[in-house]
């Protein structure tokens, strides 16, 4: 059994960088035999990046962090980056072993045994896991699954022409591959079920259109499973595949089989190594020390698996982890950045000491490991308040810091004046604030226009309402004297909440308490309401779920925590939408106000979370504050009134159902076209292109129509944007006025494009400044309105790679969205769900 000091598993950016560092140390000490080995299950390095599509540009975000690695890395194409790493691996004579798939790791520090798939065992004192998150593709699971022409990826569909290819799977990857291949090949797509239920809408439409398109040689075999693949060399084919179908066994001769059956998440493997996860959530991250050591002593985790999806971060960790294992207590690469972040703090201590101090003082931070806290501090803004008289002085010292930072990477603390707003009522921000020191006033206006003020102190947090619901701020937040605050972006916070149950439960509890207090008992006793909050139930629903059905007896009411609920009633046998209820509204209250029979059905139109209250809890809340009962009764009366309105406009009601079907229930600001006015001039698209570098972000003609409404393919600025879910560079933001936009730090990964269920995000090369309409009209210079700008250095801009583009609702134009303002007939309108009822009132 071979024996090493360190075994590194996985040759992605993290593992490679670690191996390169270990190689460097071996060289320094003049060792003849390597002290480490890098194990890679695949035949080449960096499998995940290797499988990116051909020519993909790989970005080097975050720009503000330096690269610290023995290997080079800068923005480039997939091919160049892999070449560079391969060269680095050869130059520094990295001890790498390919096709060495690890099945398990046993033991602890000083005595690890690594079992390979071929039965070989390797022993090690330390193990570094850098296996990423992609996992291994799930194979067919039948004889022949490893034949040469059976593949589980497809990097370049144009490589194949005039072949017969069988694609197995019904997810997005399978459909995209099959459609791309169908351009030049005969394609079968094999679906285990009788429909494509997992695919997103665009792919679903695409695959159905392809199946029905008689000119394409494209067919789907439904309800089918693979039973065997074997070599077959007749008729110019290479393989033969047997499928079990409802009509019996079907055999297809083909050139290639591509399985797209998802991946086996690495979690099982990681858990088998003895590493624990803080929660069962699929995106939970294992608990690590500040030196990337897991709960198994001597077993370190770096890279995406440790929660760091960006290449540069992963490479830095590879470097650091080897230094840590060798006992060199180096300072992390972000030291300087954090020092600037802490610049205005009154402590005058070293960065590490400040972090330790904060961890001791703030209850929420006590639940976090040092690594997570450090990342939280790195990604958050630090606000320090000063009396107005001292603001100039504070600002001067910050300016000094920024001036000295010649590379412009530092993001120092932010000075705020005492009495300044941190956010205002109705702002669309969704960051999360933690008070480190001092106090903050939260001011909420009640119906009579009077302000109710709550003061929060050190260790408390606020802003959780918008974080959870995606709705605008409910109230103003004002900094008081000498307060120090941490403002954390939504994405960082969600990652934290998902990986730490204690924090999630803590935030949930405070959220429910505040929601109940805000809605039912503004003047109630916080401690009593906390007790009531304990007795409530948190429910989650997916789109299409019923919260309750018409005709049932009910004994609960629901306070909506996030999402939109459609209330529907059967009128003359037809389900008619009565109204939509959104975050912070109450539904089903009539059941607790004396009429237990539900008079309408409540259906989730997006992902919905509710707080469920029983009669007892409601009575307890009513006892706290007499405002509560009046408010609930008023809400009920209002709803009943709206319902009568809706019934008056009954015939036109199916328009609202149409809008709901188009997903406008989760929109905050959606473009619709009044087809009774639209003359088809397309000035809306031209205006969009002209104000956005020549690329229109809306497609009018591709929209879906119903009666006199058309919903173009354009961003709706969803309440909880799907696109924001999984942006590794955190480049998607929501402006205070509600617009969802993508900033320049986009790395072009395309996650948002595939996450958007409405197909409104596209990948495009950065465009040059557009010429004016007049120089085109009178001098013939540049391109015509609505077209891409003329770019003589096109190759240079294309070398930068594609980035995601989408509608930003013209947030930077003073007049508002150009599409609406440039419509000559007023057919283009932007509406929010609150205005649906107005649509019904059309004469």
């Amino acid at each position: 059994m071979s024996k090493y000091h360190i075994v590194i598993i996985g040759s992605g950016p993290a593992g490679l960088s670690a191996a390169a560092r270990a190689a460097y140390h071996d060289q320094q000490t003049g060792r003849a035999e390597p002290s480490y080995i890098l194990l890679e299950g695949f035949s080449r390095i960096s499998k995940t990046i290797d499988e990116y599509q051909k020519g993909k540009h790989v970005m080097a975000e975050p720009g503000f962090i330096d690269l610290r690695s023995d290997l080079n890395f800068e923005i480039n194409t997939r091919e160049r980056i892999l070449d560079e790493w391969n060269r680095g691996v050869q130059e520094s004579k990295v001890n790498i072993r390919y096709n060495a798939e690890v099945v398990s790791v046993e033991g602890t520090q000083g005595d690890f045994t690594i079992n390979l798939k071929n039965g070989e065992k390797i022993s090690a004192e330390f193990v570094v896991l850098g296996i990423g998150l992609q996992g291994n593709p799930r194979k067919l699971g039948v004889a022949g699954e490893d034949l040469a022409d059976v593949a589980y990826t497809l990097s370049d569909p144009d490589e194949f022409k005039e072949q017969t290819i069988v694609v197995i799977g019904a997810g997005d990857a399978a459909i995209e591959n099959a459609l791309a291949l169908a351009r030049n090949n005969k394609v079968y797509i094999v679906n285990r079920r009788s429909e494509f239920s997992r695919a997103k809408e665009g792919n679903l439409n695409g695959v159905l259109a392809a199946i029905n398109n008689k000119r394409l040689d494209f067919s789907c075999i439904y309800d089918a499973g693979v039973s065997e693949v074997r070599e077959y060399t007749q008729d110019g084919c290479k393989l033969q595949i047997d499928l079990k179908t409802p009509d019996g066994l079907k055999t297809i001769s083909c050139h290639r089989v591509i399985g797209r059956l998802g991946a086996i998440a690495p979690r099982d493997f990681v858990e088998k190594c003895g590493i624990t996860f803080p929660s069962d959530k699929p995106d939970a991250i294992p608990v690590l020390s500040s030196k990337y050591e897991s709960n198994v002593p001597g077993l370190y985790i770096i890279g995406a698996l440790a929660g760091y999806p960006l290449i540069k971060q992963a490479m830095n960790q590879g470097y650091d982890v080897i230094e840590f294992i060798l006992g060199n207590n180096i300072r992390p690469v972000d030291h300087e950045l954090l020092a600037a972040r802490f610049a205005l703090l009154p402590y005058h201590r070293d960065v590490e000491e400040v972090i330790e101090l904060l961890q001791q003082q703030i209850p929420m931070f006590q639940q976090m490991n040092a690594l997570l806290l450090r990342e939280l501090l790195n990604e958050s803004d630090l606000h320090v308040s000063f009396p107005k008289a001292e603001m100039a002085e504070a600002q001067r010292s910050l300016d000094q810091l920024v001036r000295n930072d010649t590379r412009g990477r530092l993001r120092p603390s932010i000075a705020v004046a005492e009495g300044d707003f941190l956010f205002r009522n109705e702002d669309y921000s969704n960051t999360f604030f933690t008070i480190l020191e001092g106090e903050v006033d939260i001011r909420v206006k009640n119906k009579e226009g009077k302000y109710l003020t709550f003061t929060l102190g050190p260790g408390q947090f606020f802003g959780e309402m918008s974080l959870i619901s995606g709705r605008p701020r409910n109230g103003d937040a004002i900094a008081k004297k000498d307060c120090i605050l941490l403002e954390t972006p939504r994405r960082t916070m969600l990652k934290l909440v998902n990986s730490n149950d204690e924090i999630r439960l803590g935030i949930d509890w405070v959220f429910i308490t505040r929601a109940l207090q805000g809605f039912f008992a503004p003047r109630g006793n916080v401690f009593d309401i906390r007790q009531i909050a304990h007795a409530t139930k948190l429910n989650r629903y997916v789109k299409g779920d019923y919260l309750y059905k018409e005709g049932e007896r009910g004994d609960k009411l629901f306070l909506i925590r996030s999402g939109t609920v459609n209330l529907q009633k059967n009128i003359g046998g037809v389900p008619i939408s009565l109204s939509q209820a959104k975050t912070a509204q109450v539904i089903g209250e009539m059941a607790l106000l004396g009429s237990p029979l539900r008079h309408e059905s409540a259906i989730a139109v997006s992902q919905v979370e509710t707080i469920e209250l029983s009669q007892d809890a409601l009575n307890a809340l009513f006892a706290q504050d007499d405002v509560g009962r009046a408010k609930v009764e008023e809400a009920a009366a209002q709803r009943l009134l709206t319902n009568t309105d809706v019934q008056t406009y009954n015939q036109r009601n199916n328009r609202v159902s149409f809008l709901m079907d188009q997903g406008l229930g989760e929109a905050t600001n959606a473009l619709v076209i009044d087809t009774k006015l639209c003359v088809g001039c397309d000035n809306c698209e031209v205006a969009c292109a002209e104000t956005h570098g020549g690329i229109s972000r809306l497609n009018r003609k591709a929209g879906v129509g119903f009666a006199d409404l058309q919903v173009p393919v354009a961003c709706r600025h969803c309440e909880s944007p799907h696109c924001m879910k999984d942006c590794p560079a955190n480049a998607i933001h929501r402006a205070p006025s509600g617009e969802v936009f993508i900033d320049d730090t986009c790395i072009g990964c395309g996650n948002c494009e595939s996450n958007c269920v409405y197909d409104v995000i596209h990948m495009a090369y950065p465009q040059r400044e557009k010429n004016s309409v007049w120089s085109w009209m009178f001098l013939g210079l540049g391109s015509r309105p609505g077209e891409k700008p003329v770019d003589k250095k096109r190759q240079a801009s294309e070398a930068q790679g594609k980035k995601a583009v989408k509608c930003d609702s013209c947030k930077d134009l003073s007049g508002g969205p150009a599409c609406v303002r440039s419509c000559p007939t007023g057919a283009a309108k932007r509406i929010s769900p609150d205005q649906f009822i107005d649509i019904l009132k059309v004469q």
Binding site: R215, E690, D708, L813
Partner: protein
């Protein structure tokens, strides 16, 4: 937020009221003139100056429409004002000239103005009437989708016909090949159906009129009752007739859609060049007037 509010109703027809007021004031000014009223009196100069300013402003719509970043009102508001002020201009211009016409540059300017305004009225009528008509004609399908559907019907017809006797296959193939749709601007406006078909397999070039697909449908309809076809073939013929009749309906819708869509663009071909000509002649008219002084 209200649906279906056309440009005349924009902002409670505010610009209509302004234009009406302007018309009343201008009529009042005209009334004060002693006979014979003409452009050379102070009333004439006042109305003429106002009219010229309105003309210049009206042409600015072309610039505002293309100033995509402008926050100076909305294009809808501008269009609404454009329509009303354009309408009242007919009155102001007529009052300005005091009904005096002749064979000169002044009357040329007037005639051009009338052409522009009348073409504008036609455009307005199209803008008000056509969208609703087009919407119900298209049944919420886009032009692309209609064409795709049309392709689908063609393919379906060919596939069904493949199982039928060769004469029928040929007839269907020939009808598809010689169906006309669209064409140049004039063809689209005229929406003339010059489809033809050969119903004689031995003479594929012997084409007969197939307007509205009448010849083909009649041919298939007459084939159906004939005893020479098998039961299966009868089924197929029935299916073929169904597809062809849907295809015919769609063809009509497409022609109508093209006709209307082209009308929506083509009136501007009169309106805009004549506006530019008007600006030129108007300049000449104003300059020449100075020589009378």
């Amino acid at each position: 937020m209200a649906l279906n509010k056309n440009i005349l109703l924009f902002n409670n027809s505010m610009y209509g009221k302004i234009a009406l007021g302007l018309g009343i004031i201008c009529s009042g000014i005209y009334m004060t003139s002693e006979n014979p009223a003409n452009g050379g009196t102070w009333q004439g100069y006042t109305l003429g100056t106002l009219g010229a300013l309105i003309i210049v402003w009206l042409t600015l719509l072309g610039i505002r429409k293309r100033s995509y970043r402008s926050s100076l009102g909305t294009v809808q508001g501008w269009t609404s004002a454009h329509v009303y002020l354009g309408l009242v201009l007919l009155l102001i211009g007529t009052l300005h000239c005091g009904y005096q016409f002749g064979w000169n540059i002044h009357t040329l300017a007037y005639v051009l103005m009338v052409i522009v305004i009348v073409s504008g009225m036609y455009g307005l009528w199209l803008y008000l009437m056509l969208p609703s008509a087009m919407e119900s004609n298209r049944k919420n399908l886009s032009r692309e989708n209609m064409l795709r559907q049309f392709d689908g019907f063609n393919q379906e017809a060919v596939i069904i016909a493949a199982d039928l006797p060769i004469e029928i296959q040929n007839a269907v193939g020939s009808a598809i090949k010689h169906t006309t749709l669209g064409g140049g601007t004039f063809a689209q406006i005229r929406a003339k159906d010059s489809s033809r078909v050969s119903l004689d397999a031995s003479a594929p070039l012997n084409l007969v009129d197939n307007r509205d697909q009448k010849a083909l449908l009649s041919y298939i309809a007459h084939e159906l009752p004939k005893p020479k076809h098998s039961a299966e073939q009868h089924e197929k013929l029935q299916a073929l007739l169904d597809v062809l009749s849907q295809r015919k309906t769609l063809l009509n819708s497409l022609r109508l859609d093209m006709h209307w869509q082209t009308l929506l663009h083509v009136w501007l071909v009169v309106h805009i060049p004549f506006s530019i000509a008007l600006l030129g002649v108007l300049t000449a008219h104003i300059i020449s007037v100075f020589f009378y002084w």
